[in-house]
Amino acid sequence: MKKLFLFLLLSSLLPTLAMAGELTGFIGVEGRLFLNPPAHEAQRRDNGSLSLAPEYYHEFDADSSFTFAPFLRIDGSDEERTHFDIRELFFLKVYENFELSVGLRKVFWGVTESQHLVDIINQNDGVESPDGEDKLGQPMIATSFSRDWGTVDLYLMPWFRERTFPGKKGRFRTEPVVDSDNAIYEKSAEERHIDFAARYGHYIKELEFALSHFSGTSREPSFILDLKDGRAVLIPYYEIIDQTGLEAQYITGEWLWKFEGIRRSGSNSTSGGSYYAATAGYEYTFTGVRGTYMDLGLLTEWLYDDRGASASSPFENDLMVGGRLTVNDISDTQILAGMIVDIDENEQIFFLESSRRIGEKIKVTLEAGFYDLPDNSRLSAIRDDDYIQLGIDWYF
């Protein structure tokens, strides 16, 4: 409730600020239909929700600006999914070949599509969607240097954001449910531990590459089974890690060859000291399919984690195959569909993401996920959560 009040307060400030800057964003309505009744106690079956994602931008002069992008979702079933976040709130100053920003930001690292191993700056907004693509705003002081020999980014992150998890009424949750209010940290500084990251990226002709390192609180928690009010709960445990990442992409004609690899080390048992993980694959694009303006991309990626069966990720030796259809019509119709298949186990996940614009300001999205998972799968808690999701976003 306090968060909601804060949101309303900030929102009421927006129109006054808008006099000087630019206010854009969208209001969304989303409905999720689940094909099976819920597997866990207290879970609701289907749900509807509303979201609001405004963005205010103000330019002081050509080289300095202010961005503010709050986010609010009100969910009909899960009180944990009803949440407010500040995705971005930062000042940016640009100098000759140098950039400085202070505040909450979103940063993306990586080249692959099926999973984002290297991408580590922002925490997952785990209640938003099961794919982990939604992120929480990360407080930081960030600098970026651009030179002929590449770009160097340095990040100092003075505050850690805990991952969000669906509540007991929500779908896509673990059993027992995660108690996100009582997280435990390896270091006594808890959220106030100062994290650092650095990345060097460059390109040489058709080769694009980046090397990065992160030192700080792992964005991915492990879990400790505990009791709360006589009920079993999972308590997130955040350890201190070091992660080195390599990204590379090479273009030959219509082929994009992609690689992402990480080495992560930490004191905790989940990482067992240290481990390697990688995603490697390609995307091939047919331009102008059958004389139309349609582009069809075929994707294949191999997902690997050297911890094997003890990996915290379900993708320890999996293959993703998919297709991306860009219709290139007036409505910008796009469809991405595919599946991730476990090479060793009988685990299969099917996914669909599509969107098209209606008129000038409305975008309709259709998403779906189907899970074919055995009882002993690490993802078995969501095996009954096959879903179809329809969203309508109105842009302003």
Binding site: E22, T24, F26, Y57, E59, S65, L92, V94, E96, N97, E99, K106, V107, F108, G110, V111, E133, S144, S146, T151, G201, Y203, K205, E206, E208, Q249, I251, G253, E254, W255, L256, T285, T287, G288, Y293, D295, N328, D329, I330, D332, R357, E360, K361, K363, D393, Y395, F396
Partner: protein, 265 residues
């Protein structure tokens, strides 16, 4: 007149006789290249410019859709241009930005920025025949014109409106081009493209591009206010209207890198 003088006179007469003959002996290929080079030369030295573009897509049934783009261009001496295009409208793609480094030879470098994910994607430039934003313009139609990208053949001079035009066949060097021949009409007065006829790989007459409303900037550089592309095979068309041209705005390389792409507004 002594022997030496007579010999000199003969030589001069001979030279005068030969000269027009050599000028006439220039092949259509050489003449085509000459025109393309002259047109390129006349548009050299602008440094940089910014402009706003409004794109109206129209389907066969007359249904229209509008896109708006802010464009920044930097001339790179000895190579192609650097272009940053920022999408403003429709609203759902606002903030999406496209960065392209054109090269005289070899593939262009292209990056796309997706603001919702904060993701910069290096994309393949092999899809040059693909549609730009669902319009009738292919990527290769909007990328910077480099002399080295075609071989040429001069066809002749023909009237074009109130002007006379050189008609030159451009044959794309790149096998990824969607065209067999691009017939370009360039006016003889100012060397401005007035009309372009595109023929696809099957030699069918695919599209016609018409330039109107030429204005002169910095007392030298001509830019058309409107470019209209008609697709003859589908009946669809795209109109580009350009406004607020500003030349020599002080843009440099730092305005055309990945950081600039991410912060473009």
């Amino acid at each position: 007149m002594d022997g030496y003088g007579l010999q000199l006179l003969r030589l001069i007469i001979l030279a005068l006789l030969i000269m027009p003959a050599t000028a006439f002996a220039i092949t259509p290929e050489e003449r085509g290249l000459e025109i393309a080079k002259e047109a390129d030369l006349r548009d050299t030295g602008y440094g940089d410019f910014r402009a706003e573009m409004r794109m109206t897509l129209r389907n066969r049934h007359g249904k229209e859709s509008i896109r708006e783009i802010k464009s920044s261009n930097l001339e790179v001496p000895g190579d192609g241009d650097k272009i940053l295009s920022l999408f403003e409208r429709p609203r759902d793609v606002k903030g999406t930005a496209f960065l392209s480094f054109t090269h005289k030879t070899g593939p262009d470098d292209q990056w796309l920025y997706l603001p919702a994910l904060k993701r910069v994607k290096r994309i393949s430039s092999a899809n040059k025949s693909g549609s730009f934003m669902g319009s009738e313009f292919a990527f290769e139609d909007i990328s910077s014109m480099e002399v080295e990208k075609y071989t040429y053949k001069f066809i002749g001079e023909k009237p074009c409106g109130e002007l006379t035009c050189f008609v030159v066949e451009y044959d794309p060097v790149d096998k990824n081009s969607g065209y067999s021949i691009v017939e370009t009409w360039i006016d003889t007065e100012e060397y401005r493209a007035q009309k372009v006829e595109y023929y696809d790989r099957k030699r069918s007459h695919l599209k016609t591009l018409t330039y109107t409303g030429y204005k002169k900037y910095l007392d030298k550089y001509w830019r058309a206010d409107e470019m209209f592309m008609q697709n003859h095979l589908t009946g669809k068309s795209t109109k580009l209207e350009w406004a607020n041209y500003k030349f020599k705005t002080g843009l440099t390389d730092k305005d055309f890198n990945k950081n600039a792409l991410k912060r473009a507004r």
